[in-house]
């Protein structure tokens, strides 16, 4: 024992004069650190109810519960997370995975109650004192639990694509597709938005598993045009994909395409194994577009003898005559159509109803009729000089090209319009080596055309003049040319809502000369094949049908679908219309089977 060791401990007294560690205030007043993982906050308006928080919670502390006010919002499941604080461990994985960044935590950590059942609440919906707390844990910038960026798609370079009709989008490799498929959070919100309600998360899952046969089966449950839709679908699904809220949406369309590309057409029969038991009933389908063929497929599967009447010499409708082959090659469209035909669907080509066969005859000879003749009549601009021979319609140009005819557009072309037909007409014109100017009344951001199409048309050298209103077509010096007088527009907000309206500025007018002007401002339906008397029977408004449940018209035997019977006017909606009409026709002709349901 030495003296130092005896005395040294008395040093402890020095501490008596130091500031104590403890704080006087009740500890409950001590706020958590700014990034503390305290009680949950959900911005319920931002949340889309994807349920990823529920999925990742290892404690099963989160339920997804219905909150009425959010049901029916586009891209929103109408569910919101409800937290059971009897199970939560405040790990914050729910915050990390939140696709909408709506979920975070406050730095509050004291919630006192004598009743142990109260610690259960729907964040952002039930009123809690910490809902407006600005502090607390949130996912750090640059920290991700799934890849926010999509796998880039390889495209034909613009300088190559512009000189051929080769498909521009090259498609994913299997490896790329697996990586892209990995990004899906499997919430299934896209399923509700997809007009056909395709089993998107399931077929994406099949890609991760490398099981393309399963994927093909899943797709045919709701869509007999997967090769087509895998290329040109308007992909509403991607616009609601929660992964796209903070990053880029999963490339659902390209993944769909991969599945089809991986399966050989000769294997379809074996994989899909559609067995048909004839039921002896006959259905007429008018129009072999996506709507008609979809109805034919699902009707055939139910055992109906289906005859499709098509005015053109090939099936596909707008998919064949309106979509250029660099977006949808013929053999891919044929892959879809051939399979439907292989099931015994009969197509009568070059047979126009109203001309070759009367509509009434169909009503007499068939048990039900499905009409899907779309919008085939180009809208006229109704401006002076429009009947000039150098003014062409976009649809006609596309049909000419599809039929292998020279559209005769010349070398300097103006395209009027901002829809997909306009973009296609423009890009086709580029492939005929024309210099292309697109005149559009509104801004590029308001173009109804697919964003990628707009981008690619620009890549390929089409010049877009936005806010340009055509007012008159005038003759040019040469008969081979035509001039257009157009004025600049200012965008004015519509006080009643709706998209901003362009207003002509008469002091800023221009006149340009072109070899041809391609008008592509919209399409209308052609219902001439329906007799005037029959018109009375249908509720047709603005040239469109408003079908009832199961696509039924006011006429007993008649069902409709496709562009002239819906507001979306795209292939996938037509496909769903056809599918739904098939259900409706089966219910109509075979009601006994549905009685118990």
């Amino acid at each position: 024992m030495n003296l130092k060791d005896l005395l040294s401990p008395f040093f402890v007294w020095q501490r008596a004069f130091e500031k104590p560690y403890t704080s006087i205030r009740p500890t409950i007043d001590r706020p958590g650190a700014p990034a503390y993982r305290g009680f949950h906050i959900n911005i319920a308006d931002t949340c889309v109810g994807c349920g990823s928080c529920h999925e990742i919670c290892q404690n099963h502390a989160i339920d997804m519960v219905a909150v009425e006010e959010y049901l029916g919002r586009e891209g929103d499941s109408g569910l919101r997370p409800r937290f059971d604080y009897g199970r939560c461990c405040w790990c914050g994985l729910c915050v990390d995975i939140c696709t909408a960044a709506s979920l975070r935590m406050s730095n509050e950590y004291a919630w006192i109650s004598e009743d142990p059942t109260v610690f259960h609440f729907t964040a952002g919906v039930d009123d809690k004192p910490w809902q407006d707390n600005e502090n607390g844990y949130r996912r750090a910038e640059g920290y991700h639990l799934y890849p926010p960026k999509r796998i880039e798609m390889e495209m034909l370079p613009a300088n190559e694509s512009v000189s051929s009709f080769e498909e521009v989008v090259k498609g994913y490799s299997e490896e790329q597709a697996k990586k892209e498929a990995d990004r899906c959070v499997e919430c299934g919100i896209c399923v509700a938005t997809c007009p056909a309600h395709m089993d998107v998360p399931d077929y994406i899952h099949s890609i991760r598993d490398g099981n393309y046969e399963k994927g093909l089966q899943l797709m045919y449950r709701t869509n007999p045009f997967p090769a087509t839709c895998g290329r040109i679908c308007t992909r509403r699904c991607e616009s609601v994909c929660p992964v796209g809220i903070l990053g880029e949406p999963v490339a659902i369309r390209w993944l769909k395409r991969l599945i089809v590309d991986q399966v050989d057409a000769s294997d379809y029969q074996r994989i899909l194994a559609d067995t048909i038991t004839e039921n002896g009933k006959k259905i007429a389908v008018i129009g072999a577009g996506p709507g008609g063929m979809s109805a034919a497929y699902y009707l055939r599967k139910k055992g109906y003898a289906v005859t499709v009447f098509e005015a053109q010499e090939s099936a596909g409708g707008m998919l064949r005559y309106g979509v250029p082959s660099y977006r949808l090659p013929d053999n891919d469209l044929d892959k879809d159509i051939d399979y439907i035909v292989s099931l015994g669907v009969e197509i009568k080509y070059n047979t126009a109803i109203g001309k070759d066969i009367k509509f009434e005859q169909l009503l007499e000879n068939y048990d039900a009729v499905f009409m899907s003749t779309g919008l085939s009549v180009p809208s006229s601009m109704r401006i002076h000089g429009e009947d000039h021979p150098r003014v062409l319609s976009g649809l006609q140009v596309l049909a000419d090209v599809a039929n292998g005819r020279d559209p005769g557009i010349g070398k300097k072309v103006a395209v009027i319009g901002g829809g997909n037909v306009a973009m296609d007409a423009a890009r086709v014109s580029r492939r005929f080596d024309a210099e292309v100017t697109i005149l559009y009344r509104r801004r590029i951001s308001e173009m109804p055309a697919d964003e990628e199409e707009i981008h690619e048309s620009q890549e390929e050298g089409c010049r877009i003049v936005q806010q340009a209103i055509p007012v008159e077509i005038v003759s040019a010096d040469s008969e081979q040319q035509v001039a257009i007088r157009w004025g600049e527009a200012e965008m004015v907000d519509d006080p009643k809502g709706g998209r901003p309206r362009p207003v002509l500025q008469e002091d800023r007018m221009h006149t340009d000369t072109y070899d041809s002007i391609i008008s592509a401002i919209g399409q209308g339906s052609n219902l001439d094949y329906i007799s005037k008397e029959m018109h009375e029977e249908f509720a047709i408004e603005w040239g469109k049908f408003t079908p009832g449940e199961y696509q039924h018209t006011t006429l007993e035997k008649v069902f409709v679908g496709g562009d002239f019977a819906n507001s979306t006017a795209d292939a996938i909606s037509a496909i769903e219309d056809g599918h739904h009409a098939a259900r409706g026709i089966d219910r109509y002709l075979n009601p006994a089977a549905y009685e118990e349901k």
Partner: protein
């Protein structure tokens, strides 16, 4: 390392030699040579440290793979010795004479997997599970979720919807893929 592995292959018939990383090689040895091999590694090859001893249940193959992790402090190398035994009541040779902590591992493995190590001290004593009357819980067939659901009640008022199913029921009940 290669020399050693060649020798072990020759003398003990080890197989499935896998270099997991520069500092870790694993291999498989027959049960009967395991104790001798491990002793030799300890006494002759400098693998004096038993990092741990554990078991992997390959229920699909009907085997338990026992893993002895040995370390050589001088060479900074580890060896994972795998020994497969049958899941059904097969005994394993005890190594309690090689390391002081080995009997504890063996006692735990008996409790958690039901593996018997004849001769290992205090093998029958409970380790973690006093009064356990179910099957050894680390076996794959023991379902912890089922167990806890039987023992513990559920909170009232818990119910969760799947976004996709909920939307179908609420928004498009008659559409989508038909039931298979």
């Amino acid at each position: 390392m290669n020399d050693l592995m060649e020798r072990l292959q020759r003398d003990f018939g080890v197989d499935d030699i896998t270099v997991r990383k520069p500092a870790l090689t694993t291999f498989r040895v027959k049960k009967d040579s395991a104790e001798t091999l491990i002793r030799e590694l300890r006494d002759r090859e400098g693998y004096t440290h038993l990092n741990f001893m554990t078991c992997i249940d390959y229920i699909e193959d009907g085997i338990f793979t026992l893993v002895y992790m040995l370390h050589n402090y001088d060479k900074k190398l580890s060896l994972g010795v795998h020994v497969d035994i049958s899941r059904e009541n097969e005994d394993m040779v005890s190594i309690h004479t090689l390391w002081a902590q080995a009997w504890t591992y063996q006692r735990e493995l008996r409790e958690m997997y039901g593996i018997n190590f004849p001769g290992s001290p205090r093998l029958e004593e409970d380790f973690c599970l006093e009064g356990w009357d179910d099957i050894p819980p680390m076996r794959r067939e023991f379902d912890t979720k089922e167990f806890s659901e039987q023992r513990f009640g559920h909170r009232e008022g818990r119910h969760s919807e799947e976004p996709r199913d909920h939307m179908k029921v609420e928004l498009y009940p008659n559409r989508g893929g038909d039931e298979k």
